[in-house]
Symmetry: C2
DNA sequence: AATGATAGTTTAGGGGCTAAACCATTTTCC
DNA sequence: GGAAAATGGTTTAGCCCCTAAACTATCATT
């Protein structure tokens, strides 16, 4: 096996599979103690789309509809989202409340602070550029590779 | 806020927080249906250290000891690891069985195949090099930044 | 020998997931 | 127009993971 592939396997697992959880914990964002990553992602997608159905959210998040039902149920209880009824009586459109928007902004702000600090301490300018390039690429791959 | 930081926040979340699960699913490794990422990581660390205590595993994985107890319980039941008793009757050293070693090797082989295919289709040689550089950096950061 | 510390397990409760079952509503077909 | 099929979302059932307290056996200290 190509040594590079072998190394890639190790790094891939270390960073993507096993490192993520550690990063989330080290950011030490109080909001992330109250809202799970799954709930945060739901907020993000709802915010991005403006108004969205549960079905679409399930597709975007790649999970079963009942998982979405459970997530949105909690977000509704926490009043971070609200329902807008459509003509189709079966359907519910979800949108962010002001509180939901605040949570998203605050969460991003804290993560930005964390990254800014991390980057200023451990990464030089050129590496930041490379980081962005590679992550843009990874993001693109994840969106196209049947992922 | 620096636009680059803003972009980094988005990409970071997309790739590390929300993309990982999708990648795991798209690799389509049958072993990963039988063994969770948490169990796989335990196998990996046990394999790397040769013999290891639950306490050390808890530290390396950054989880509570009861989580480790549950993980190793399942791995024992599946006969992927076995216990070696020490002089300290409270303590148990864990080591891989041959079956455990096989699972690790097979899992890595499948992931290597996946990455090789991915890289040959969507990434050029220079990008592979950059990918490795950046991931080495990320891996190093995760090991030192109180992560 | 009694007390405190330690290693690991079990218990309790919270989060997540899949998928079937369920219910109301809409669409399709005859 | 009415019955059957499809659809949107919720609830139920069962499995997984986590944290942390409670618990038990063993070791170390006083």
């Amino acid at each position: 096996m190509d040594m590079r592939i072998k190394e890639a396997v190790e790094l891939f697992q270390e960073v993507l599979f096993y490192g993520t959880e550690r990063v989330i914990r080290s950011v030490d964002n109080p909001l992330w103690e109250e809202f799970s990553p799954e709930q945060m992602q739901s907020l993000k997608l709802i915010g991005k789309e403006g108004r969205i159905t549960s079905a679409r959210l399930a597709v975007l998040q790649g999970v079963h509809k009942s998982a979405v039902s459970n997530r949105t149920k909690k977000l509704l209880q926490k009043e971070l989202i609200q329902v807008v009824q459509t003509a189709d009586r079966r359907e519910k459109l979800l949108e962010l409340t002001d509180a939901g928007k605040s949570v998203l902004e605050e969460s991003d702000r804290i993560l930005a602070e964390y990254l800014e600090k991390l980057m200023s301490e451990q990464v030089d300018d050129q590496e930041i550029e490379q980081f962005l390039v590679i992550f843009r690429k990874l993001s693109a791959i994840m969106k196209t590779d049947g992922v």
